[in-house]
């Protein structure tokens, strides 16, 4: 129950005295409680646990992490070894 995938907030409304939203998880849309993310807006991505949005995905951090990964390959002295790996698993040249 700690696994979760990011969903996109599509709309926000009030229900039973709580802030709720419709959140789209790759095509599956669910009603989600937004009470713990008062600043979240339509279009933001969020991680949802058992019906509650807990964290908003930070786009800048997401990009920075991916850039770190990209840099690793370029700066890696073991690039030759790694190319060997890829060749091992790919089709014969």
């Amino acid at each position: 129950m700690c696994l979760a995938v990011p969903g996109r907030v599509e709309s926000i409304h009030e229900a039973e005295g709580t802030r709720m939203g419709r959140v789209n998880f790759g095509g599956v849309v669910k009603d989600v409680c937004l009470a713990y993310l008062p600043d979240i807006a339509v279009g933001d991505y969020t991680i949802v646990h058992v019906g509650f949005a807990i964290s908003k995905i930070d786009e800048a951090s997401a990009r920075a992490t991916l850039e770190t990964f990209a840099d690793l390959g370029l700066l890696d002295e073991g690039l030759a070894e790694l190319r060997g790996d890829v060749a091992d698993e790919g089709p014969a040249p």
Partner: protein, 374 residues
């Protein structure tokens, strides 16, 4: 899907694995605390990308697995009470109690319902005012904000027919218990990313300092896991023991403060028995005194239960990381997901179920097993 596919890229995974191979010069044992991470590791074969120096030990972070047998037996007793609608996350239905499970009680006529969110149980209480609606509130810090809010809303809405059977558990005391346990082999922790999305990272620096153990907050996708492992190995090789956040797109130092405030209002710390492990001091939450009127344990006299575990089940050793699931003699024989002896074979986050569904039936001659005695 955005924020998903890019963290599953196979080419980048191989690059990260190559980098881990490059930096690892000595044997290291890393524990991923969270059962969700265990499943992602086994399903994606992350452990098989690692060099022989780096072993992953699967931690106790499967809430279904560590929910004490006594709580399951109490749940079975309450669910069988006439007039009760018993609500649970689906994972719990097949978890064996001393004699049977919630599915069996349901088959005998009890009104047991699977809910996606505790709010569904609150709605049931509102629409069934003549019935007692009980929610089995388990989980780590990740599910606590939802369960706490359910109680708050039930009080706001004046729902006297709603109650919770609470068995919450907490990660930091479990890390402390593992580090203090005799024969501990864990050199570094991958902290559970979604637990930290609620609680932040501020709880961990004292643990890292006291036990001189690196703690890297880690996500769930293959690249998140490899990056968490890489950062932990870099620290170990350098002799550092810091708290690092390798899941910054979701986790902040302070966490979700609104959620922490509601948790602090509704729950209070308690010594908690972990199934297969034993009592860990202050390792759980119960309902705070101000909310005890929502406590199903007080509302239903299910009496003292005498819990009896299967003598074949070694889930305690699996949860403590001293036994790999497929090293258990009962694994895949007496114990399968259809006929589970212990909760670790039931839950979608249990290590035994992860190994079974990934087809890891035969004990591999792992490098980790060699390191165990070195």
């Amino acid at each position: 899907m955005k924020h998903l596919a890019e963290y599953r890229d196979a080419d980048t995974a191989r690059r990260l694995a190559a980098e881990i191979r490059r930096v690892a010069t000595r044997p290291w044992a890393l524990m991923e605390v969270c059962g969700g991470q265990t499943h992602s590791i086994i399903r994606n074969g992350v452990d098989q990308l690692l060099p022989p120096e780096v072993e992953l030990i699967h931690g106790p972070g499967c809430p279904v697995c560590v929910t004490p047998l006594e709580t399951i037996d109490r749940a079975l007793g309450i669910a069988a009470t006439p007039g009760v609608i018993f609500c649970s996350f689906g994972d719990m239905l097949r978890v064996p109690g001393s004699r049977d499970n919630l599915l069996a009680v349901k088959a005998r006529g009890a009104d047991v319902r699977v809910v996606y969110s505790p709010l569904d149980a609150v709605t049931l209480a509102r629409t069934h005012s003549d019935r007692e609606v009980v929610f089995l509130a388990i989980g780590f810090e990740t599910t606590a904000p939802a369960n706490a809010m359910a109680v708050k809303l039930a009080r706001q809405q004046g729902l006297a027919n709603f109650s919770l059977l609470v068995s919450h558990v907490l990660v930091p005391p479990a890390i402390e218990a593992i580090m203090r346990s005799p024969g501990n082999r864990v050199n570094a922790f991958l902290a559970a990313g979604h637990v930290c999305s609620v609680m932040g990272t501020w709880q961990y620096p004292p643990l890292a300092a006291r036990f001189r153990v690196p703690i890297v907050v880690t996500g769930f996708e293959p690249l998140d896991l490899l990056e968490g492992i890489r950062r932990a190995v870099v620290q170990l090789e350098a002799g550092r023991h810091d708290v690092e956040n390798a899941y910054a797109r979701v986790v902040t130092e302070l966490g979700n403060e609104a959620a922490q405030r509601v948790i602090a209002e509704v729950f209070a710390p308690v010594d908690r028995a972990w199934r297969g492990i034993g009592v860990i001091p202050a390792s759980g939450w119960r309902l705070a005194d101000a909310y005890r009127d929502f406590d199903a344990e007080l509302r239903f006299a299910v009496g003292d239960v005498t819990a009896v575990e299967s003598p074949l089940c070694r889930s305690g050793d699996v949860l403590k990381g001293t036994l790999k699931p497929n090293q258990c003699p009962a694994f895949g024989r007496e114990c399968t997901p259809r006929t589970p002896l212990g909760a670790t074979m039931v839950s979608s986050e249990g290590a035994c179920a992860a190994y079974y569904h990934a087809g890891r039936r035969v004990e591999p001659a792992t490098a980790g097993a060699t390191h165990a005695s070195s």
